[in-house]
């Protein structure tokens, strides 16, 4: 039941956190090749929204649909379409960069070929260092590598530019472009939309 063009759709959803309704009746939809930027002040609910879209958190009313299927009810293999990178980088401190990457790739049934990737991310000389010894930005870069390796169709990114230097930010912008050109979808929470915005971007303001 997969459509030619994938669609992520939110039909007026409410999101509650700690007994307060953060987001009420939010609706939007992004299709293949489209980018949605989630913007809003600190504490507006961007992270909460992304977690809901990823199926990590429950939502009050309404529906979140991926190709017409409610997200919480997606079959495991359908979850392979998703990749979510949040505030936490999800790396094991005691494993080296390579071990971390090959694990996350293997778990998604992807081949773990990332030498060129590490080069572009300028991580070559730390490839076999335990990630707890990495600098903040290097850790973010490893996270980005995992994102790339997943080659999923839907990217859910929470402030991907955090801790990155100019080169890193440019890289992310380039990747998003590429991903969209390849018919992928990206939902990105950011405080600097100008870095990613382009004509045809859906702006989700909270």
């Amino acid at each position: 039941m997969q459509q030619p063009v994938p669609v992520l759709e939110a039909r007026n959803i409410d999101i509650w956190r700690g007994g307060r309704c953060l987001i009420r009746g939010l609706s939007f939809s992004v299709g293949g090749g489209q980018l949605a930027l989630v913007v809003g002040p600190n504490g507006a609910g961007k992270t909460s929204l992304l977690r809901v879209l990823a199926g990590l958190a429950p939502y009050g009313s309404g529906q979140v649909l991926w190709n017409g299927i409610a997200v919480p009810r997606l079959a495991p293999e359908q979850r392979a379409d998703f990749v979510y990178r949040g505030h936490l980088d999800g790396l094991k401190k005691e494993l080296t960069v390579e071990e971390n990457l090959s694990f996350s790739a293997a778990l998604r049934g992807q081949a773990a070929v990332f030498d060129s990737l590490l080069t572009t991310l300028n991580l070559n000389d730390v490839a076999d260092r335990e990630t707890r010894f990495l600098s903040a930005g290097q850790r973010r870069r490893v996270g980005l590598a995992a994102l790339k390796l997943a080659n999923a169709r839907l990217w859910l990114l929470d402030e991907p530019m955090t801790n990155l230097d100019a080169a890193g930010r440019a890289l992310v912008t380039g990747w998003v472009d590429e991903h969209l050109r390849g018919g992928g979808i990206a939902v990105v929470a950011t405080h600097q939309p100008e870095e990613l915005a382009r004509p045809g971007t859906t702006l989700v303001e909270l």
Partner: protein, 221 residues
């Protein structure tokens, strides 16, 4: 199945990477069992009588040690989120993690116990039963521990609640384990308690992972 192996490999690697954490339960076990003769200074047959009990309690406690850290670490660094989101079915992932925990903590324990048992003057032919009982009991303990850890993973400080939930659940294992060992020490038939332990293990391993997975999912919300 494949994802089972992947997660298992990763967790084992982690366990052996943090060798210290791996050695932790063993060391704890040895020290506890060592402290008792120190504190009680019992005679040989006193020791023999209380020995089995001490062994089992020490084994139980030492496998409870690693309890809090079982999912907490993954939850704190965000890799639990990634595991939940991964296409691999959560039950399998959990089973793999628990298996790793068992291999890393339970198995060495099973290997160590007979040695200590001998130092407690337990008869040699009781050792096989002791080991068998441990092999049957430790998986259940691991599952229960994991369940407790999963139920409290979202409480920033899991500790006591888990202890509260899990130790009572473990007490039957303790009782039937010691029962079997005692019977063996006195050279009587031990089938009864062993069967019981086995059935409990089957029950735990078959039902546990799904429940644990559900608990983790709710916990991460």
């Amino acid at each position: 199945m494949n994802s089972f192996l992947i997660v298992l490999k990763r967790d084992l690697k982690l366990a052996f990477r943090r060798w210290s954490e791996l050695a932790n339960p063993l060391l704890f076990f040895m020290i506890v069992t060592a402290l008792f003769p120190l504190a009680l200074s019992p005679t040989a047959d006193e020791l023999r009588t209380i020995g089995t009990g001490i062994l089992w309690i020490a084994a139980l406690l030492s496998s409870l040690l690693s309890l809090d850290s079982l999912f907490r670490a993954d939850a704190d660094d965000g890799s639990l989120e990634q595991l939940i989101l991964s296409p691999a079915p959560l039950g399998i992932v959990v089973l793999a993690k628990v298996t790793a925990h068992w291999i890393a903590s339970g198995v060495p324990l099973v290997g160590l116990v007979p040695v200590v048992a001998l130092s407690f003057y337990l008869p040699v032919d009781a050792l096989t039963v002791l080991v068998a009982a441990l092999v049957l009991a430790t998986p259940t303990i691991s599952i229960l521990v994991a369940l407790g850890a999963a139920l409290t993973v979202s409480l920033k400080s899991g500790g006591s609640v888990i202890g509260l939930l899990i130790l009572p659940l473990c007490s039957p294992l303790l009782i039937f384990g010691t029962r079997a060992t005692d019977l063996a020490v006195h050279g009587e038939a031990t089938a009864g308690p062993l069967y019981l332990l086995a059935s409990l293990a089957v029950l735990a391993v078959s039902l546990g992972p799904v429940a644990i997975g559900a608990a983790l999912k709710v916990g991460m919300e």
